[in-house]
Amino acid sequence: MSHEVANLSDPGLPAHVHRAADSDPKAEKKAERQVATLFGLSAVGTILFIVSYIYIPLDLFIFVPILGSTNAHQLSLGLGLAISLLCIGLGAVHWAKTLMPDNEVIAQRHEFRSPESERKEFVAAAKEGANAAGLGRRSLIKRSLGLSLGLVGLSPLLLLRDLGPLPGKELEKTSWKTGTRLVTDPGNRPIKPSDLEVGAVAQVLPQLNPDEERTLNNIGKDAVLLIRLRVEDFQLSPERLAWTHEGIIAFSKICSHMGCAVALYEQQTKHLLCPCHQSTFDVPRAAKVIFGPAARPLPQLAITVDTEGYLVAQKPFTEPVGPSFWERSS
């Protein structure tokens, strides 16, 4: 026996198999009925949509298995529209697949390059057109057209100016200044140390001067969380310990990773969690990052009390709050 294998020849395209509807009149009728049924269902869907829009009250709730109590108006509107659109598509595809001509046609690709005669003809026509328009002769028109086309390009360039102005030092500044009172959010009430029991938290904002406005931009940088621990729980450097007051410690609520509000405080573990990416900060150790993508601890706000006994900021934040940015100095 020879071990040589005969060269494989090109098997060509598989033989074309015709569909049942092409040869069997019964199958053809069946396919026709199926397509008609789908189009008919679409019409029913539209009628359902119209009828439910007019007749089903807005506040009617019905029980649907799995979904539970569901608004009948919205449900039937959605179902009606879905049925009407989907069945048109299904019907059209089914029609094309079962009944429309099923001839396989082979079309060869033509060459991309145009024939030489056509190319010559085009060049001649272009030259003739240019001569007729007199571009070479009428230099006034040529120059003014050049000017206008050049200037048109300036308009979109000018709009790029709206990307600015650059924030400058704005990202590094908050409304916290030396002596700014801490007030509850919401409520705007000043806070005394005795208002917080051990284990208590308070969401606070800086008290603003009457001429300053509390905007979302401000809150996005100013929000602070107060937490009261036992003083002996702290594991802080002497400098940072001086930033606390009677066991009350204040951190920026803006996550140093992506700027979400970090306010999930677990009283027993004394961890602060960020709900967005699960960065975990250890409160007794000056919000040291112990888990997650945050790169820096939360900035700590130095606090003390004023002459009336209310909690105030010792000084502004010593570092920019929130996520990293290009020009961040630290």
């Binding site: 608004n71 284990g199 308070a202």
Partner: protein
């Protein structure tokens, strides 16, 4: 008696009678009121005793014989009656096992036993009291809009924007607030059970606490006008549904489109 009745028209008879009557009223009243005070004291000390007996049997193995706490359980001195009522009344205490979090379950003690335990623990040191119906007037005094604002700032990060609860670290979680008694919500706010911090009365005033409760109660009956609420937990269930059911449907249609008809 005959001799006494002879003096009934004596000129000193009326003043003497008056003095006698006053004396009798005074002594009767003082004896009677003293006895009620004593019986209240007696009932209270009986409840403390009963609570102490329950405590010694059911709680002291972890919390210590004098509720001073131990290696595995915190001290209960000063936690107050509200804390006991919340933890034991909702079945969280006693814990079924030493997992990361005490779960809500069928209470192990009757309401009377919980009350006795609360009286005993409250007798150890002052702490938050159980809020009564006269405090929980949220339907009358609460403000739903204000409650929503407070909820979004103070509660939503753990308990979800619709109060459905959410995950914390290492298997701990903030439970759902749907169907929770107003009294239990109030107790949790003032005592800070387990992972939850305390929300002091000066930070969130009692009136504001009632507003929060009113908002939670409004959220419970909020109809989902947009169709299936999918548990109101946000992108997790919505994403799961669209990635399985939605994409599955699209893949099915794509396969059908490409299948040759027979």
């Amino acid at each position: 008696m005959k001799s006494l009745s002879r003096y009934r028209k004596h000129r000193y008879a009326s003043p003497l009678l008056l003095v006698f009557a006053l004396f009798m009223i005074g002594t009767t009243f003082s004896v009677a009121s003293a006895s009620t005070k004593e019986s209240v004291n007696f009932a209270r000390s009986a409840a403390i005793d009963e609570g102490k007996q329950i405590f010694l049997k059911g709680c002291s193995s972890c919390h210590g014989l004098n509720a001073e706490g131990g290696k595995i359980a915190p001290s209960l001195i000063g936690v107050g009656a509200a804390s006991v009522d919340f933890q034991v009344g909702t079945g969280r205490m006693p814990m079924a096992d030493m997992t990361v979090q005490a779960m809500r379950k069928k209470p192990a003690y009757t309401a009377e036993e919980v009350a006795a335990l609360a009286v005993y623990v409250a007798s150890l040191a002052p702490g938050p009291a159980i809020p009564g119906d006269e405090i929980l007037t949220y339907e009358r005094d609460g403000n739903t809009a204000q409650g929503g604002e407070l909820f979004r700032t103070n509660c939503a990060m753990c308990h979800n924007f619709a109060g459905q609860g959410g995950a914390l670290s290492q298997g701990k979680f903030a439970p759902t607030l749907m169907g929770v008694e107003p009294k239990e919500i109030y107790e949790a706010l003032i005592t800070g059970p387990q992972s939850m911090p305390v929300f002091s009365d000066k930070i969130i005033t009692p009136a504001e606490k009632l507003s929060i409760i009113k908002w939670i109660k409004a959220a419970e009956v909020e109809p989902s006008l947009g169709g299936a609420a999918l548990g109101r937990v946000g992108p997790v269930t919505e994403g799961l549904l669209i990635w399985t059911l939605g994409l599955g449907l699209l893949i099915g249609i794509a396969v059908w489109l490409a299948t040759k008809a027979r």
